[in-house]
Homo-oligomer: 303 residues x 2
């Protein structure tokens, strides 16, 4: 599915080119050198390349002050050649992250992390800005699992209440007509809630948190967790897993794998948002051209 999105984005970039519009341009602001951040950025730059988006890293030293980072973002805000700006998190501890993410101008906020973008999710996308990429990608996965069935009236449980995943995820599903319960570390009995869910979204970051007894048979389970557990059979000595135990697949109707599930969809949605930013900057409406009918999703990039 992520490949199909990237394919559609490439199609959109090509279509802009036929109208004489230059490719979308994305800048990833990185402060310091977190190894995980470098790995994520590599994936984003690779995805951008695959769909014709010009993406580059704008690296600042670990010692950069908050004011210096904000200044760098403001320079990118003022540059017409840049259409999307994201700040790779986490930032060094001496920096107040919200002050930095909020500095990205709304029209270039392709991560959807600013307050105006988040508020737009409450208002059901009434303004022309961007939905955060992870919940947007999860929505695509859920809609795909639902096929032609309506989400209206389904019971949803979201475990995790972060600003950029759990809360906007719940809001998107609420606006799609679901009844949404948001659980978190303070919830008295998460399992009891989870067992009621037709759709269960888990975004906690705790390997094996969700066992099969937490899942209603046939439920759609979206695993947003990224955890590393030791695995002597791997060269690195560790293995990436989600928040769901393996046994969940025995009861779930649908389960996203980790790795290879939500992660690639998140990156793909970032590319889609960047294309949308470019289209708006060029004065086109934001709607993404539909993928070609009958497009084989798994092989989309080979087509």
């Amino acid at each position: 599915m992520a490949a199909a999105v990237l394919f559609a984005v490439r199609h959109g970039v090509d279509e802009l080119a036929t109208r004489g519009v230059s490719p979308p341009s994305l800048v990833v602001v990185l402060v310091g050198s977190n190894p995980a951040s470098n790995s994520y950025i590599t994936k984003k730059l690779q995805a951008a390349k695959e769909c014709g988006i010009l993406a580059r890293k704008h690296a600042l030293p670990e010692t950069a002050s908050e004011a210096e980072i904000v200044q760098a973002i403001q320079t990118l805000n003022a540059t017409d050649e840049v259409h999307g700006i994201i700040v790779q998190l986490p930032l060094p501890t001496h920096v107040h992250a919200p002050a930095v993410t909020e500095a990205v101008m709304h029209a270039k906020d392709v991560d959807g992390f600013t307050m105006q973008s988040l508020g737009s999710v409450i208002c059901n996308g009434q303004d022309p800005y961007f939905c955060p990429c992870t919940p947007k990608g999860c929505m695509r996965l859920i809609e795909s699992a639902m096929g032609d069935s309506s989400l209206r009236g389904l019971e949803v449980v979201v475990i995790g209440a972060s600003n950029i995943v759990g809360v906007p995820m719940g809001l998107l599903l609420l606006r799609a007509g679901c009844t949404v319960t948001t659980c978190h570390i303070g919830t008295r009995d998460v399992a009891a809630h989870a067992r009621q869910a037709d759709i269960l979204v888990v975004a906690v970051g705790k390997a094996g948190l969700v066992g099969r007894d937490w899942v209603k048979p046939g439920a759609i389970v979206i695993d947003v967790g990224i955890n590393f557990v030791s695995d002597p059979s791997k060269k690195s000595g560790q293995r990436m897993v989600g928040d769901c135990a393996d046994e969940v697949r025995q009861v779930a109707g649908h389960l996203t794998p980790v790795p290879g599930g939500v992660g690639p969809m998140t990156v793909a949605m970032l590319m889609q948002n960047t294309l949308e930013a470019r289209r708006r900057a060029a004065g086109f409406n934001a709607a993404l051209p539909a993928a070609a009918p009958g497009q084989d999703e798994a092989n989309a990039l080979e087509a």
Copy 2:
């Protein structure tokens, strides 16, 4: 409680005066002449007068175009003497309401209806703008009912998912540590959810929706509904009621009355937001001075 808030606002206005700062100024933009709107505006102007806020109505004709309304708001945005601007809803049907409410600049958005203000609720108030008045007032009522007990881990059900009441209400309670379920017209079994709630907030607008069998014994019930039912014993032929049937008081631990519950708290929170806007415009921090210790809430305005 509303009177105590107004008293504290009056104290804050007086304190500003001792520093040579002029009173807060609030403008209510009214388009056309909806009788209910006039009644609400009268209450707001009266509350403002009680606490020393300069408030006035800015009336536009029913036929005003969206562009004319937005232009009027922009003029108020640009006027230093105006600290808070609200748009009385509903607007005439030929006007796209979100385009109008979004025109209010964030620093004067004392109703908290703009996307940036709503986004700030997701982010736990990380920016200096305003929380919508009704959910903010409901939080005060809930905290008062809780006394010294923590909200953390309590089960909350919010019935109603509007942008300006249900959704921000759920977010405020989520950020206070509650487990929050949001129900609405599409929910399969609202009663089953409601019966699990330690705190039940009802914001639907349907008289008698919630009966005693929907309420967990001892629950805190916040009734945001405003409905009119026929009552021949009244001169007007009708009576204002909430969304809860009278019998709810037999089982609820706390229940807000209608009228006289959430409504006055909403107006009081508008005054508090307007004072905050004035304080910020004058370069002070936004914290409201605490009410005098031991203040008798019921008699606050007579003190």
